[in-house]
Each structure stands twice: as structure tokens, then as C-alpha cells.
């Protein structure tokens, strides 16, 4: 290893009074080296983002650097003044942010935003700036550079926007690139491309990269060095190989163990069991009127979707954003109306029912939602949230609340929770409440729509275990929607892969992973981060 480009020593960043803890970052030290990628890993609230922002002097006003040193090119960044920062930012240290949509000014063309980097440091003539912008756009692999630099951010896809952001960061050949979860908002195939791009550029420009992420799969793919953060402190640090292969600290071990393995465990086939849910020829097209004189825009959310779930079986529905998997979940739940097709539960045709008749059948199929913060009414007590459905079916409130207490016990929460409001619970606990609500109506089928996607990896593992356990105990069938193939591998008996509203492949999990037939399935599987170097 060569000399460090950036050396962070004993950095302490104080949080404002009244925060959960006193320091966002508490005595953190590590180095960045030219030509190397350092991954800073941690769960939400670990202080990893603060480290990134400190490196560019972009910390929010509410926090304060208490002590420490960030040595860069012979000076301490913590004592740099505003003019000094202005000179360093973009030129010597550049940053790529998490959300490529919000990180670009919606009112300015991509080219203008690129050329601005040169303007900020009074470099080149306007004409040269344009030529440079074109070259950069080409270097980050954007198609049709002439068109791209004239485009506005909203005219690009998420991956293209992130490429444009990277082009901006590269413009002045900085010595250090700080990337704050740059692929978290992207689909898995796009993520794989962006990771590859960062890897290549970093090597060809010999940059030191600080890469913030929560995803150990990404770490495995991209890191040379790893720093594991927890509650603002470094718990473990070392080469990627060492940290991923031979973790020393218990926390790192637990985190790695919580990452679902890519190897599907062997599962008994349920295909002899009777069908709990059957979906035949489901079609749904969204039509967006764009004006009187313009053709309507059509988005096909579901096209000829067929599948069946057998009793006791979990069917996974995987795909990228916009593939229509969530639409299918909502079509099955009758939350949106299908253009065509049938949804059958046992021998009842759900799509043929309406009004009261539909409401009396709804209890048979229940849903667990993605966002633990949006899925519980903030103004109702937990007990009522769980009991409401039972009351609607005619159970007296007393009895319903008593049952709610039992259910809370079942999902591993204290029965006393019924008298409290949702905001008093953590994300994982809220998701448990959501599960209790779904179970309250004794359903035959559970539809879980990205039910663990919003959770930190350790919490995610717990909730997945709970779901598996409950499913087995209560003999439920499940439709499990996810974008995460690792999760799908662990929980699904069979998996259906969706692309552009169609199921392109449907197979038992093990068979799908061992022998993907459709080109898209292969692409999807290849893109899963950390695939080649299976973590611990």
C-alpha cells in the first residue's frame, strides 16, 4: 500500500443536544489511498454519511466537528476556510450522491451542469468546456453525447443520471472521489453497470475512492479496504478479503450472517397440494392522457400473467422497478382493477365480486406492505389498527382487542403495545404490527410486497425468520414480491421473474438459480452484487 492521500484521524462529530446519541462520529480513523476503494459500511444511523460529508466540508449546520484531523495534501481539512473549500471541492475532492434525480438541478441541461464545474474554477474557455463535457459524457458511457448534453435530467433514466453525476465528479480529475450510496436508488442490473464504471474509472484515473454503502454484496464486488461502522465507531477495518472472509468482531459477523445466502436451501415441492390461489390471464395497462393533440402514453403493468400458488407454498415474484410486480400484487388484492383476467381463491372468483360481496371475501387474502412508516395510520392506536378488520367482520371490539393482544405476542411484541401509537415503534417492530394486522383475519394467503426491503439487514433477517415460522405454523400460502434475489432465494419455493409486465420464467427456486433459461433471468442473476465472491 502506498502513502495515504487522505488520512482521517480520531474524528469526532457532535450531534445536537436531544439526539439519540451524543456523537454521530466518535473517534473514527482510517486512510484513503490512491487507486484504492475504501468501503465504509454500516446500518442506518451508523454515521457513515457524516464521514463522507465531512470530507467535503458539507456537514449540516446542526452538527459540529469536535476534534480530530483530516489530512489531505499537506493540510488539515478541518481548518480549511470557505474559500479554501471552494477551491478544493470539485477540483481535488469530488462527490457522487445517492439520489441521481434530486442531485441534479431539474431546470438546467446536463451539459450546462457539467460545464459549470470548469466555470467554478475559472478553467477553459466556454468552447473548450463544451468539448470537455462531450468527452466526459462519452467516457462514462452515455449514448449519443450530443443529445445528452442538451437533455434535462428528467429526460434521462436513473442509471443515465448517475453516469452524468459521475462525469461531473470526474471533470477535474480529482484525487479523491466520495460516493455516498451511489447505487442504492438503482435497479440491480443498473447497479452492476455503475459499479463496474466506478471501478474502471477509479483504476484509470488512479483516484482514491471512499464508497459508502450498507450492502455487503456491493462491498464484496468493489472494495479493496473495508471499514465497518456502528454507532459512529469503527468496529472493524482491514482488506476486503480479511473482513469479508475472516471477520473478527461479533457485529461484523452478525451483519455478514444476516446477508441472505445466494444458495437456495433445499425445499420440498408443494405442487401436489391443492391450489390456494390461481391467477389466469391478468392484464392491466395504465393510460396516461398527455393532452388533446398528443397520443396517449400507455404503460403495460401486467400482460397475460398466469400463476398458481399451492397450499403452504411461497411463490416469489421478482423483477426490477417498473416490471409490474407490485401492480400484480395490487391486482391480486383487488386494490386496482384488472382490464382482463381472473383471480381465484380456492373456488371463489374474486374478480367477479363487488361491493359487499367482495368485502366479505377479502379476509381470505391479506397483505403486508413495504414501508413500515406509511403502512400504519399514525393517528390510530396499534390495538385498533389490528382489531379494525375483525370489527368490520362483526367481531365485538372487546374480543377483537383481546385477539390483537394474542397476535402481538405471536409476532414477538409485548401485548401492552395495543395502547400505543405507531410512532413509538421502530421500523422492524412496525413491520411486525403489520404482520399481526394481516394475520388478524385468519387469511389463507398472504401477499408480501417488498415486506423487508426497507429494513436494515439484521432486522430484515429477523422478520424473514418470523414470516417463515408463521407460515409453517398457520399453514399459509404466500405471494412474496421482492427485487432482492438473495431474499427470494431464501424464502421462496418457486420464483416467477417479471419483466415489462410479463412473467418471463417461472421455476422452482433451486432450478431457477442453477439453470436460468431466459436471457433476462441470467442478466438479473449475474447482476446480484457479491455473487462471485460469496460472503462468509
Amino acid at each position: 500500500m502506498g502513502d495515504p492521500v487522505v488520512s482521517i484521524k480520531n474524528l469526532r462529530i457532535a450531534l445536537p443536544r436531544g439526539a439519540e446519541r451524543t456523537h454521530a462520529v466518535d473517534g473514527v480513523s482510517f486512510d484513503l489511498t490512491a487507486g484504492k476503494i475504501v468501503c465504509v459500511v454500516g446500518e442506518s444511523g451508523s454515521g457513515k454519511s457524516m464521514c463522507a460529508h465531512a470530507l467535503l466540508g458539507l456537514l449540516p449546520d446542526t452538527v459540529k466537528v469536535e476534534s480530530g484531523e483530516i489530512a489531505f495534501e499537506g493540510r488539515d481539512l478541518l481548518s480549511v476556510d470557505q474559500d479554501g473549500w471552494r477551491d478544493l471541492r470539485g477540483r481535488r475532492i469530488a462527490m457522487v450522491f445517492q439520489e441521481p434525480m434530486t442531485a441534479l438541478n431539474p431546470l438546467m441541461r446536463i451539459g450546462e451542469q457539467l460545464m459549470e464545474v470548469f466555470e467554478a474554477h475559472d478553467l477553459l474557455s466556454p468552447k473548450e468546456r463544451r468539448a470537455k463535457a462531450l468527452a466526459l459524457v462519452r467516457e462514462v458511457g452515455l449514448p449519443d453525447p450530443e443529445r445528452i448534453i442538451r437533455a434535462y435530467p428528467h429526460q434521462l433514466s436513473g442509471g443515465q443520471r448517475q453516469r452524468a453525476m459521475i462525469a461531473m465528479a470526474l471533470a477535474l480529475e480529482p484525487a479523491v472521489l466520495v460516493a455516498d450510496e451511489p447505487t442504492t436508488a438503482l435497479d440491480v442490473t443498473t447497479q452492476a453497470q455503475i459499479l463496474k464504471l466506478i471501478r474502471n474509472l477509479q483504476a484509470s484515473h488512479n483516484m482514491a475512492v471512499m464508497f459508502i454503502t450498507h450492502d455487503f454484496g456491493v462491498v464484496a464486488d468493489i472494495a479493496d479496504q473495508v471499514v465497518v461502522l456502528r454507532h459512529g465507531k469503527v468496529v472493524e477495518e482491514g482488506t476486503a478479503e480479511a473482513v469479508l472472509g475472516r471477520p473478527q468482531h461479533d457485529y461484523t459477523k452478525a451483519l455478514l450472517a444476516a446477508v441472505p445466502s445466494f444458495d437456495p436451501p433445499p425445499r420440498r415441492s408443494r405442487e401436489d397440494a391443492p391450489r390456494a390461489l390461481e391467477v389466469v390471464g391478468l392484464d392491466k395497462t395504465y393510460v396516461t392522457p398527455t393532452g388533446w393533440f398528443r397520443p396517449k402514453r400507455e404503460t403495460r403493468a401486467a400482460h397475460a400473467v398466469n400463476f398458481a400458488i399451492h397450499q403452504g407454498e411461497t411463490l416469489g415474484l421478482v423483477g426490477e422497478s417498473g416490471s409490474g410486480k407490485s401492480s400484480v400484487a395490487r391486482l391480486v388484492m383487488r386494490l386496482i382493477e384488472a382490464d382482463r383476467g381472473t383471480v381465484r381463491i380456492g373456488d371463489v372468483d374474486l374478480t367477479a365480486l363487488d361491493g359487499r360481496a367482495l368485502r366479505t371475501q377479502r379476509h381470505r387474502i391479506q397483505m403486508i406492505f413495504q414501508d413500515p412508516f406509511a403502512s400504519l395510520n399514525p393517528r390510530r392506536k396499534v390495538g385498533r389498527i389490528i382489531a379494525d378488520g375483525m370489527v368490520a367482520r362483526g367481531t365485538p371490539l372487546e374480543a377483537a382487542l383481546k385477539r390483537a393482544q394474542e397476535l402481538l405476542g405471536l409476532v414477538g411484541l409485548d401485548a401492552g403495545a395495543i395502547g400505543r401509537y405507531p410512532h413509538e415503534f421502530s421500523g422492524g417492530q412496525r413491520q411486525r404490527i403489520g404482520i399481526a394486522r394481516a394475520l388478524a383475519l385468519d387469511p389463507e394467503i398472504i401477499v408480501a410486497d417488498e415486506a423487508v426491503s426497507a429494513l436494515d439487514v439484521s432486522v430484515q433477517a429477523q422478520v424473514l425468520r418470523l414470516l417463515e415460522d408463521l407460515k409453517a405454523r398457520l399453514g399459509l400460502s404466500m405471494l412474496f414480491i421482492t427485487h432482492d434475489l438473495r431474499v427470494a432465494a431464501q424464502i421462496c419455493d418457486r420464483i416467477a421473474v417479471m419483466q415489462k409486465g410479463e412473467i418471463v420464467e417461472l421455476k422452482p427456486t433451486a432450478a431457477l438459480f442453477a439453470d436460468p433459461e431466459h436471457a433476462y433471468t441470467r442478466e438479473l442473476l449475474a447482476a446480484v452484487p457479491g455473487r462471485k465472491q460469496e460472503v462468509a
Binding site: L56, L58, W85, R86, D87, L88, R89, G90, R91, A94, M95, F97, E99, T102, A103, L104, N105, P106, L107, M108, E116, V117, E119, A120, H121, Y152, H154, M165, M168, A169, T288, P289, T290, G291, W292, F293, R294
Partner: protein, 323 residues
């Protein structure tokens, strides 16, 4: 772009038609038999005259037919006849319209320009004394009744200080021409335009300030900082441009309020515009004239809304894709 304009114009015409229909029924809501009222307004009340009026204005025919006649009349710019003033309503309004346009557009320009300026200053120096001063003043002007501030202005600048003329459009009988005349009108315009603009200026100040502070927190401002751009450029190019979008929307929403405010301002300053005309019609219970002014001011608001929509479209490239 053209198709957008066409679409908006068609929409505007539909709304205008709806307003005309509403107007038609409002006339019928007015107390008394319209013919008798009209005859009364004309100062005559004999049966034959009433019958004549009834026939002339088609008041003896069934309601839908009357509506058709009414709409046709308006399409040929016939807004009816004002018996009190003994002149066609359209002619009366046409005479007064330029003065109102001069007043409202001046007030609009002043309020938007100064409002944005003060809003930017307050946001730029947020938390300082300047910000507090601007915010408090904006809050007060936002709560001040228009007609009252106009009277206070007269009291201060005409009665006590004698700096500015307190009523009218020009110095009557002075016979100024050319530049002298323009300056004379300008002097008469200062107080009405300033007092009419004050409320709106306060609104735009508050909106610009709030919007700037909100945009300042957005991610792309952080991107701009990370590029090493100077604060001035970030403020102008990234923050202000985005922050002005809601201000443009608000300006469109306020067009109607501006026209309404002109009624009060013109009344206080005896400014010879259609607002003053409306007040006169009100005092004399001249319903034809009243409703004529109402239709014309609605049309003005429609045109103004169309313009703000166009401006919005020009400044926000995303709009084309929004539904």
C-alpha cells in the same frame, strides 16, 4: 407549444362561456322584473315602455332562447345598455379599460419585482435583523386592508405632506401634452399602484423567502456546493430559479385578487378605470353595467392566467411531461 396554447385558449373560451351563462342567471336573480327595473333605471315606468323593452331584449321569450340571444350579443361585443349612463355598456368599459390596465400592470410589476427582491434578501440573510424586519413588515402589509392603506397614503402624502395628487388620472384642465402629460399621469399613478401592489408584494416576499429556504435544502444545491461554485452563482442559478416556480404559480392565482383590489383602489383614488365604473354601477344599482364589468374582468383574469401558464412552461422544462 402551439398545441398547448391552442388547448389553453379553447379551455379559456369554455370557462368564459360558463361565466357568461352564470352572469345571465345572476341578472335574473336581480330583484324585480328586469324590464321594469330597466324602465326604472331609464326613469320611465309606463306599461307600454316596459312592454317595448321586454320585446326589445327578448324578455318575453322562453329562458333558453333568451340565453342564446344574450350569448350572441356578447359574442358581438354587445354587453347591453346602461340606462343610468345612457350609453352601451361595452363603450363605457372600453373607455375605462386602459386606465385599469395601466394601474393593475404597474402594480403587478412593482409587487412582483420588489417582492422577489425582498424575499431573496430575507432568505439570503435568514436569521439576521434584515430578515426579521422584512418578514415582520411583509406580515403587516399582508394583513392590511387595501382600501384603508390607500386612505392612509392620501392622509400622509396628500393631506399632510402634499407631495402627490390624491385623486384622478391627470390634472384636470391643465392640458399637458407629451412628456409633461406622461409625468403628470405618473404622479397620479404612484399612490394607487403602490397601495394596490403592497399586499401582493408582501405575498411574493413571503413566498419567495419560504421557497428559497426550502430549495436551499435540496440535494442539487449540495451538488453545486460540491462542484466548488461560488455562493452567488449557486443562489442565482440553482436556488432562485427553482424557488421562483411557485411564485409564478401564485402570481397566476392572484390575478383575480388583483382585479378585485383594483375596484377598491380606483374607488378611493377616483381612478377612472373599470373598478371605479363597477363602484358607480353598484351605487346606482346599474345591474347591466355591473355584470358587464364582471364579465370583462373575468376575461382579463383568464388572459392573465394563460400568460402565467405560458411563462411557467417556459421556465420549467418538466411540465411537458406532467399530466
Amino acid at each position: 407549444m402551439l398545441s398547448f396554447i391552442a388547448q389553453r385558449v379553447v379551455k379559456g373560451v369554455i370557462v368564459l362561456l360558463a361565466i357568461i351563462v352564470l352572469n345571465f342567471f345572476l341578472i335574473r336573480l336581480a330583484p324585480g322584473d328586469p324590464a321594469v327595473v330597466m324602465a326604472g333605471e331609464a326613469g320611465a315606468s309606463d306599461q307600454i315602455f316596459v312592454a317595448q323593452l321586454r320585446e326589445k331584449f327578448g324578455l318575453d321569450r322562453p329562458l333558453p332562447e333568451q340565453l342564446l340571444i344574450y350569448v350572441k350579443g356578447i359574442a358581438s361585443l354587445d354587453l347591453g345598455f346602461s340606462f343610468r349612463q345612457q350609453a352601451p355598456v361595452a363603450k363605457l368599459i372600453a373607455e375605462r379599460l386602459p386606465a385599469t390596465l395601466l394601474l393593475t400592470l404597474t402594480a403587478f410589476a412593482i409587487s412582483l419585482g420588489l417582492g422577489i427582491l425582498f424575499g431573496v434578501l430575507a432568505a439570503r440573510f435568514a436569521g439576521t435583523f434584515l430578515d426579521t424586519a422584512i418578514t415582520v413588515l411583509a406580515l403587516i402589509f399582508y394583513a392590511t386592508p387595501l382600501f384603508w392603506i390607500a386612505l392612509i397614503a392620501i392622509l400622509l402624502f396628500s393631506v399632510w405632506a402634499d407631495w402627490l395628487p390624491s385623486f384622478g388620472y391627470e390634472t384636470v384642465g391643465a392640458g399637458y401634452t407629451g412628456l409633461r402629460h406622461a409625468l403628470d399621469v405618473g404622479a397620479h399613478l404612484v399612490m394607487p399602484a403602490a397601495t394596490l401592489g403592497l399586499f401582493f408584494m408582501a405575498t411574493y416576499t413571503r413566498m419567495t423567502r419560504a421557497s428559497m429556504l426550502e430549495v436551499k435544502r435540496l440535494d442539487f444545491v449540495k451538488t453545486a456546493l460540491a462542484k466548488g461554485l461560488r455562493d452567488g452563482i449557486i443562489l442565482r442559478r440553482h436556488v432562485l430559479r427553482n424557488a421562483l416556480l411557485p411564485v409564478v404559480t401564485l402570481a397566476g392565482v392572484h390575478a383575480g385578487t388583483l382585479v378585485g383590489g383594483a375596484v377598491l383602489t380606483e374607488t378611493v383614488f377616483a381612478w377612472p378605470g373599470i373598478g371605479r365604473l363597477m363602484y358607480d354601477a353598484l351605487i346606482q344599482r346599474d345591474y347591466n353595467l355591473l355584470l358587464g364589468v364582471f364579465v370583462v374582468s373575468s376575461a382579463m383574469v383568464l388572459i392573465f392566467n394563460l400568460v402565467t401558464d405560458l411563462v411557467y412552461r417556459l421556465v420549467d422544462p418538466r411540465i411537458e411531461y406532467a399530466s
